[in-house]
């Protein structure tokens, strides 16, 4: 009975993983094929020859400088997620530890902000940045990403701070530690998993943000990775083999981060909801 149940569970999980991972495999296969082989109408599971030119062409493609847009994405995502992390640390600490006037109102506002579609930010940001001549700069993207991604990290970190016992901090206060010192030396290390999770999630969202970076950049040199890849196929009608190589490389940072830090991320995302 027991082994039968285990077998069914194994088969279902196996089939599900096979189905969900097959797109990745096929994109990998396309990236190793020349264009005429990709377009052959008959179904082939493996590429006939190992064709590595796609990766070479990807980096020498003139309309969309791939290395440059990869770097753009890295700069913008890292900076904005670091700023979001710092802001949300302080906000979360305040919400978790202090009872101040308007605390509930602020929490409701943050909840509301997390439901606002990113499209909503497009028009005002575009309008203001166009007037300030900030279109096509890293600064514009970083400023735009901060309000977009701030609400959820605040919650994630808050729920971790909530779980740090108040008594530890009270003991530290009696010993004469300042609030900053308590935050840096006691609360932060104890809430580290949540902070890591919040940072990785913000980074991943910024890495995959499309609409805002689509409108806030205009020159090929300043595009971010998702926008660059989309334009590569929709505007410049580039080859599918090169696109496959590009998409595959674009997935690496987030897939690897999520893979290694999976435990923390799942904990960080589900914690608040499971507690209640």
């Amino acid at each position: 009975m027991k082994s039968y149940k285990g077998f069914v569970a194994f088969m279902v999980s196996f089939i599900w993983c096979l189905l969900t991972l097959s797109p990745l495999y096929f994109v990998f296969k396309f990236s190793l094929e020349p264009e005429n082989e990709i377009f052959s109408p008959s179904f082939k599971l493996f590429p006939e020859t190992l064709y590595l030119k796609n990766y070479e062409h990807l980096f020498s493609y003139t309309y969309i400088p791939f290395a440059r847009i990869y770097l753009n994405s890295a700069i913008v995502s890292l900076t904005s997620s670091l700023i979001v992390l710092i802001l949300s640390l302080f906000a979360a600490y305040a919400f978790s530890r202090f009872r101040f006037k308007g605390r509930n109102a602020f929490l409701v506002i943050i909840a509301f902000c997390s439901t606002i579609p990113s499209v909503f930010y497009c028009i005002p940001f575009f309008d203001v940045f166009a007037k300030l001549h900030l279109i096509d700069t890293y600064l514009a993207l970083i400023i735009a990403y901060i309000p977009l991604f701030l609400p959820i990290p605040v919650w994630m970190i808050k729920s971790y701070f909530d779980s740090v016992p108040k008594e530890i901090e009270e003991a530290a206060i009696i010993d004469g530690a300042s609030y900053t010192r308590i935050l840096l030396r006691i609360t932060l290390p104890l809430a580290a998993p949540g902070i890591v999770a919040a940072f990785v999630c913000t980074f991943a969202w910024a890495w995959g943000e499309f609409l805002l970076s689509y409108i806030l950049t205009s020159s090929p040199d300043m595009r971010t990775l998702p926008v660059g890849l989309q334009l590569f196929i929709s505007k410049y009608r580039g080859s599918y083999g090169i696109l496959s190589a590009g998409t595959l490389l674009a997935t690496f940072p987030t897939v690897i981060l999520y893979g290694f830090l999976q435990k923390y991320i799942i904990q960080g995302l589900t914690r608040g909801a499971l507690k209640g």
């Binding site: 194994f10 008959s42 909503f120 995959g208 998702p226 998409t247 981060l257 209640g276």
Partner: protein
């Protein structure tokens, strides 16, 4: 509330005209309907699949840890990149999905998924399910693991069958976390203008257009900023509604 149109310099106050224009637009009902159906269907299918897979992954079997890491992969891929990947997977000429369906004889010639309204909508839901189901899997799995095993042991002593354990212990206990997960997912489904923009741009003939995408396309494809802002206010009102539910469910202000 202005007639802000990018190519012209003149901006005039037009009162509520933008709102009326939008509501009397012949596509308004279709777009609202699309939004509703897209949210409803995907948030019914995904929790069901997610919960079933999570129940399986909660069993003890060989390679469980590996599968648990693998299910999260589609979710960790940047959304626009997933969209581009599926543009290739469902491609009319070389898409492996078409080729496999042809191979097993379901269709006899390659299907142009994004050329017909029904198949484009189905493809959209398929892709969104691929991306978002991991969210339900990990959430349900975390909820399942939070159930203390003593409950099952005592139920077994009382002679409960596996099925009774499922319906009387597991499901009631993970109901509220699952509702929260669904709420999160509904909100993020509503926001998925970027996914649809890359896949279909709302076409063919507005059949895959949802409200947030309209707000975007009005502004940046048709340059009707005034009307787009009106649509955005609409979306904001809906977001406000979501927030109310959300606050009620999660008790953020505890």
């Amino acid at each position: 509330m202005t007639n802000y149109y990018l190519p012209s310099e003149k901006i005039e106050f037009v009162g509520l005209k933008n709102y009326f224009d939008f509501i009397t637009n012949p596509f308004f009902t279709q777009i609202s309907y699309n939004t509703l159906i897209f949210i409803a269907i995907s948030n019914t299918i995904q929790p069901l699949i997610g919960l079933s897979i999570a129940l399986c992954l909660n069993e003890n079997f060989f390679g469980r840890g590996l599968f648990r890491s693998l299910v999260i992969v589609p979710w960790s891929i940047p959304l626009p990149v997933s969209a581009l990947m599926f543009l290739m997977m469902l491609h009319g000429v070389f898409g492996p999905v078409n080729q496999i369906l042809e191979l097993i004889g379901i269709i006899n010639k390659p299907l142009l998924w994004f050329a017909y309204d029904k198949t484009a909508f189905a493809a959209l839901i398929l892709i969104w399910t691929w991306i978002n189901t991991p969210w339900f899997i990990i959430f349900s799995l975390a909820a399942l693991q939070a159930i203390p095993s003593e409950i099952y042991e005592s139920a077994k002593i009382d002679g409960a069958s596996a099925f009774q354990c499922l319906t009387h212990i597991t499901l009631p206990l993970i109901r509220s976390p699952l509702i929260i997960a669904t709420m999160f997912s509904i909100i993020s489904t509503f926001k998925k203008a970027d996914l649809i923009y890359i896949l279909t741009q709302g076409g063919p003939d507005h059949s895959t257009e949802i409200l947030t995408l309209t707000a975007y396309m009005k502004a940046f494809d048709q340059l009707l900023f005034g009307e787009a802002a009106a649509v955005n206010i609409f979306c904001l009102a809906i977001a406000g509604l979501f927030t109310l539910f959300y606050i009620k469910i999660t008790k953020v202000t505890e």
